[in-house]
């Protein structure tokens, strides 16, 4: 039997049917009817202080749980404030549904108050988007949107909701998805799998290069089995951290610009490179012409357009990472530990990730090591820049859903709101945002959201008073001309935390780090831990932009 209801009520019903338990949003004029329906529903709504944070929180929730994250913003500026968050999710293939208010359908195109063409604006940064012009389309569009967001290569979908369609009534019917132009491929081509298996079996110097696609497909167990069966070393991208345990003898850690020297050396020496759920980003490959020069490349990806986009591929395999790896496992047998493995162990001993310890000044890497020691099962969320790279390098990653970072877009200000979303999705886990003082200030207002809603995320600021990554490049490539990268000693983050009603702690000496962390981690409140670190500590090693992966600089501070 069909039930008659308003558009706003239908939206709530759609969210309920899609299993949505929380949305992140901020109301506005055209959203009043929808917010009124939310008021009388049992849907959990987290009120943010800036819409950008709503998008990042939905994204953090999605990455931590594997479910679709949902955010809501009003028309015009509310909608445009979501844009950075949507673009972040798009670059990292994160399933979110963003709902935006829109002016009444009869005012669209008239430059009405708070009107913005948000479907036009977000076309290049969404997997798909919709402008609903008739309330009867609400159920179909919502069902399609969630389906598109979570299937195939996941991604953000935006739904623009003119005010009048949320008021108009409709007969609610939730139709099956019928999208003739959308057939995400999950089944893999058997012949290609056999070719890939033969290449891997014949390889003398294999390397597996795993990306975020392994995480999204929950393929980490298959990856582990394949790597151990082949005795093939595994390097992961930033998005793939945690898909293979960093402590395992076959682990090479991260590759690319700030990857380990041994990962980059291994890729450059490999005779077969198996890329799984990764997209040969420029930060990974360095100079493309000299990337993995000796290797036959096998590329497994759920998105056919990624295959052959950046590098020539010898054996393409279109399909979901889990299915493809499971199929590959049927065709490969146990291989012995070889000279290649020994060579890699030697490289690992010779070129470990390292930093110079200091008795008097806190080293940011030391903070990360201490966090890992005290809280090895935490969900680590990062901001962007040096903090992000140190978190990738010095935390011992082992769980694919416990490292959350803006990789593709590199969005400063992402970490803290994403941590809020992750904590809501997995409240039983400790969630720690490893931040820089620059990035944290980009969404610092969300301390209010965390405090008011009692979301006890922990923020560890590696406070160097500068935009550290940019400063590092200025040091190395611009003759130490520090153009506009010095932020100064403001604000006092402890006082800011206290002003919001959060706990604020500070460490200025290495000897204080552990106590601050222990107190912060023991707290049941949102907590800001301000670690005052050296401003000239650098992320090392480094492959300069545009250089070959073989040209690795080891930097001392």
């Amino acid at each position: 039997m069909m039930v008659r209801m308003t558009g706003a009520e239908a939206i709530i019903e759609c969210l309920r049917r899609e299993g949505v338990d929380v949305i992140f949003g901020l109301p506005g004029g055209v959203l009043l009817p929808l917010y009124d329906a939310i008021y009388s529903s049992d849907l959990r709504h987290i009120l943010v202080r800036h819409e950008q944070a709503a998008a990042h929180a939905a994204d953090g929730y999605a990455r931590a749980t594997g479910r679709v994250g949902v955010c809501l913003a009003t028309s015009g500026p509310g909608a445009t404030n979501l844009v950075t968050g949507i673009a972040t999710a798009y670059m990292d293939s994160v399933p979110i549904v963003a709902m935006t208010g829109q002016v009444n359908t009869n005012l669209i195109g008239k430059d009405a108050f708070q009107e913005a063409d948000i479907t036009g604006i977000t076309m290049p940064i969404t997997k798909h988007n919709y402008l609903i012009k008739n309330s009867k389309d609400i159920p179909r569009v919502f069902r399609e949107a969630f389906y598109i967001a979570r299937t195939g290569r996941p991604g953000p979908v935006l739904i623009d909701l003119p005010r009048d369609i949320t008021v108009d009534e409709l007969e609610f019917d939730y139709p099956e998805v019928n999208l003739p132009g959308y057939n995400p491929s999950t089944k893999v081509h058997q012949l290609q799998i056999r070719r890939a298996a033969e290449a891997l079996m014949a390889a003398e110097r294999p390397v597996i290069y795993a990306g975020g696609g392994v995480r999204y497909a929950n393929a980490h167990e298959e990856l582990f089995q394949l790597a151990t069966r082949l005795n093939a070393p595994v390097t992961t991208t930033l998005m793939g951290m945690g898909c293979f345990p960093t402590e395992h003898p076959l682990s090479l850690g991260m590759l690319g610009m700030h990857g380990t020297k041994y990962a980059n050396l291994a890729v450059q020496e490999a005779d077969v490179l198996l890329a799984v759920g990764a997209r040969f980003d420029d930060r990974v490959t360095g100079k493309i012409a000299s990337f993995a020069p000796k290797a036959r490349i096998i590329h497994i990806d759920v998105d056919p357009a990624e295959i052959g986009k950046n590098v020539r591929v010898d054996i393409p395999v279109v399909g979901d990472a889990k299915n493809a790896l499971a199929e590959l496992l049927k065709h490969v047998q146990q291989k012995p530990w070889t000279e290649w493995n020994e060579k890699i162990l030697m490289w690992k001993r010779e070129y470990p990730l390292r930093y110079v310890r200091d008795e008097n000044v806190i080293k940011p890497q030391f903070v990360i090591e201490k966090i890992c020691e005290l809280c090895p099962d935490a969900i680590i969320v990062t901001e962007v820049g040096q903090n992000q790279m140190w978190a990738a390098q010095f935390f011992k990653h082992k769980d694919p859903r416990n490292f959350i970072t803006s990789g593709g877009l590199g969005t400063m200000g992402y970490g803290f709101p994403a941590a809020i979303g992750a904590k809501i999705g997995r409240p039983e886990c400790e969630v720690i945002d490893i931040a820089g003082d620059g990035s944290f200030q980009m969404n610092i207002q969300e301390l209010a959201t965390a405090v008011v809603n009692d979301i006890p995320v922990k923020i560890a600021i590696l406070n160097n008073g500068v935009l550290g990554m940019v400063r590092q490049w200025q040091t190395l490539f611009f003759g130490r001309r520090y153009s506009h990268t010095t932020l100064g000693d403001v604000p006092d983050f402890v006082k800011v935390a206290e002003a919001y009603g959060a706990l604020g702690l500070r460490a200025t000496k290495p000897s204080e780090v552990e106590d601050v962390l222990k107190e912060g981690l023991a707290s049941d409140r949102p907590t800001v831990m301000d670690f005052v670190v050296h401003r000239d500590e650098k992320v090392s090693p480094m492959v300069p932009a545009g250089a070959s992966l073989s040209e690795i600089l080891e930097l001392d501070s």
Binding site: G120, M123, P124, H128, L131, G181, P304, A305, G308, K309
Partner: protein, 165 residues
């Protein structure tokens, strides 16, 4: 190198924007694009002429296929396809030149569809080269205005690009 692709799309608002936006964002060059109805009102057919090597073409096809409103993308091999373009050209003409123009028009099997004391409008259909050639011949008389449709294309023989899903 020039390639021609036929794209079957859902007949919905914004689809043309999605396609043209994709081309500009990914840096693909469109030489010509024409859109029109199919015999199924739910779908339209686009013929897009693209400049680029095989790697570019492969990306164009794959990226287009990712769009939710795109039902089918087919590469049309120029050696196995018929291509047609229509142009209407307004040319300066007076009593001294009119008959010479009419002779050229007749050689090209084009048609005159409007006559006035100082101008003619000529309609021509053919492949791109033929339209280019006529345009070249008419230039000496003074082309006042020209409108070209962009080409439409179809594979010869019984092979078809299915319209529906």
């Amino acid at each position: 190198m020039k390639h021609t692709i036929a794209v079957i799309v859902e007949n919905k608002p914004g689809v043309l924007t999605r396609i043209s936006g994709l081309f500009s964002r990914r840096g693909f060059n469109i030489d010509s694009l024409s859109v029109g109805a199919t015999d199924n009102p739910a779908y339209s057919r686009m013929t897009i002429s693209v400049e680029g090597d095989d790697v570019v073409l492969e990306q164009v096809v794959k990226q287009l296929s990712k769009l939710i409103n795109v039902i089918r993308v087919s590469r049309l091999d120029p050696d196995e396809s018929v291509e047609r373009e229509l142009a209407i050209i307004k040319v300066s003409a007076n009593k001294d030149t009119r008959s010479e123009i009419m002779q050229i028009v007749s050689v090209f099997r084009a048609r005159i569809i409007d006559v006035s004391p100082r101008s003619l409008i000529i309609e021509v259909t053919g492949d791109e080269k033929k339209v280019d050639a006529l345009q070249q011949m008419l230039r000496q008389f003074g082309i006042k205005e020209m409108a070209r449709t962009g080409k439409v294309s179809m594979v010869r023989g019984s092979k078809v690009v299915q319209t529906g899903p």
